[in-house]
């Protein structure tokens, strides 16, 4: 079976003046097609690094990764992917329609089919009216939505969202939730990171928690969060335990 996302012992190291930082340590991750997968972790856990490695922005130091069975080192692996970065920005001198046309061309979409698809995604993210305006005139929420439209233009089978609700007002967050729910209904895979744990609990069926570049836990939300405990409490407990164990082992003690 081809997983939507599969990593095998994926490791990423960064060299800085202070030495080598291992941002990801032998990460094994499998996301099945159709899952809405929450990728959680405290700041610096390696969530964005994982996404960047999957999308080819960073070459892994070791290990391998596949998107729908295609090696991430080949650009073809990104054909069925949509990506919304954290704090998205785009070419502000373009209009919304021009941006989406350019995006379509990157997927070899042209002509009437492209125009039809542009109208669909603009309607989907609620940007029909301002689509002819320059993006420099958009509000932050509109910017987030035009970038989301860009991520959905190729009707991707896997949508990777890095902190999609960050900085949005409650209406914006609700709209993102609706879009994720709609993607789930259409059988698409959604892989997203968020610090808004209540959002994650609402929309995810599976989650993984990452801390210090290691996978701490992974599984269906209903199974890993015990009865009487909410996701936030579970997250805090799990990450704290992992950090205590890590500190103890680095001091030579038993975790």
């Amino acid at each position: 079976m081809d997983y939507a996302i599969e990593t095998r012992s994926l490791s990423v190291e960064f060299r800085s003046r202070g030495g080598t930082v291992r941002a990801l340590d032998r990460l094994d991750l499998r996301v099945r097609p159709g899952q809405v997968f929450g990728f959680l972790g405290p700041n610096g856990a390696g969530k964005t690094t994982t996404m960047h490695a999957l999308l080819g922005f960073i070459a892994p130091t070791a290990g391998e990764a596949f998107l729908f069975g295609e090696d991430i080192r080949h650009s073809i692996a990104r054909k069925r992917i949509g990506y919304l970065p954290e704090h998205p920005d785009t070419y502000r001198f373009l209009t919304g329609v021009e941006l989406l046309k350019t995006t379509g061309h990157m997927f070899n979409m042209t002509g009437r089919a492209l125009r039809k698809r542009i109208d669909e995604v603009l309607a989907h993210v609620g940007l029909i009216e301002p689509a002819g305006r320059r993006i420099s005139t958009y509000s932050r929420g509109m910017m987030q939505r035009i970038c989301l439209a860009q991520a959905l233009l190729n009707d991707p089978d896997l949508v990777i969202l890095d902190e999609p609700t960050s900085g949005l007002d409650p209406f914006g967050r609700a709209q993102i939730r609706t879009i994720i729910a709609d993607l789930r209904i259409r059988g698409k895979t959604v892989f997203f990171s968020s610090h808004e744990l209540s959002e994650v609990e609402l929309v995810c069926d599976t989650l993984a928690i990452l801390a210090d570049g290691h996978m701490v836990t992974e599984g269906p939300v209903a199974e890993i969060v015990k009865p009487g405990e909410n996701l936030e409490r579970f997250f805090m407990r799990t990450v704290t335990e992992r950090r205590s164990a890590s500190t103890a082992s680095s001091k030579g003690g038993r975790p």
Partner: protein, 263 residues
């Protein structure tokens, strides 16, 4: 191919809407009008002087514009974060390099064409003429030299920030314009290792002087022979391809990371 053309088109729209080009065009126009208005004792040679100065300004503006446009493109994409959604699409890094190069080169070539048109208009307004074939050759060789400059600046911008890439490009291309043609004169007085080192520098740096037909156009020497013309075009194409190849090699494994960590 559509991806490359689309990337080039985005750069065109950026230049047209940010109005950098218009400022240079207006500046050149203002300089030419000032020169035309100075008609000392009604000397007929003044037209040549105006054309010569106009072409010199067109070369300097073309040089500045080509370095600034191409050296900032990739660093700006990274600084704004727009490189992330771009590379998340099935676009190869080679396509990004070629698309950006094509956009920058066609923009500066079009701007240079506008500069030439302005100069020709001024010359015609003074009832003088320029050989059209020589003028076309001058423009095409000028555009070929811009292709080399754009590819060189793009090469530096794959690993340096915009300021460093611009500075290095200005230093190298400026030295190639001004110093390289004079190297044979220095070589006469040198021997041994310094002579070899200087000879090596002479052959390594691009020879922008071979692209310059300004004097031929201004002094009405007529068009150059087509065989050397195509040889110079070939030389420019080889240099451009070489620099683009180096740019791709530097860019293909570049890690894009937000924050302070680097590879």
């Amino acid at each position: 191919m559509i991806r490359i053309l689309s990337l080039a088109w985005v750069l065109w729209l950026a230049m047209l809407r940010k109005k950098d080009l218009y400022v240079l065009l207006i500046l050149l126009g203002a300089l030419l009008v000032t020169l035309v208005s100075i008609n000392v004792f009604g000397l007929s040679g003044m037209t040549r002087y105006v054309a010569d100065t106009g072409f010199l300004i067109a070369w300097v503006f073309g040089w500045i514009l080509s370095v600034l446009v191409s050296a900032r493109e990739l660093p700006l994409e990274q600084a704004r974060g727009t490189i992330y959604p771009l590379l998340a699409k099935p676009v190869t890094r080679a396509e990004v390099i070629v698309g950006k190069w094509l956009g920058a080169w066609t923009v500066v070539s079009a701007a240079t064409l506008a500069f030439y048109a302005l100069i020709v208009a001024v010359v015609l307004s003074r009832h003088a003429r320029l050989d059209p074939v020589a003028l076309a050759q001058a423009y095409l060789l000028h555009a070929a030299s811009l292709a080399v400059i754009v590819s060189l600046a793009m090469l530096f911008s794959t690993r340096l920030n915009s300021d460093a890439a611009s500075t290095l490009s200005f230093v190298i291309t400026g030295a190639s314009f001004l110093v390289v043609p004079r190297i044979p004169e220095f070589l006469v007085s040198l021997e041994g290792f310094p002579a070899y080192a200087l000879m090596l520098t002479y052959h390594l740096l691009p020879h922008f002087d071979v692209f310059d037909l300004r004097q031929r156009v201004v002094h009405d020497f007529g068009p150059m022979d087509w065989a050397p013309f195509w040889q110079v075009i070939l030389y420019g194409s080889v240099l451009t391809t070489f620099f683009l190849l180096l740019a791709w090699m530097a860019f293909r494994n570049k890690r894009f990371v937000r924050g302070e960590l680097s590879q």
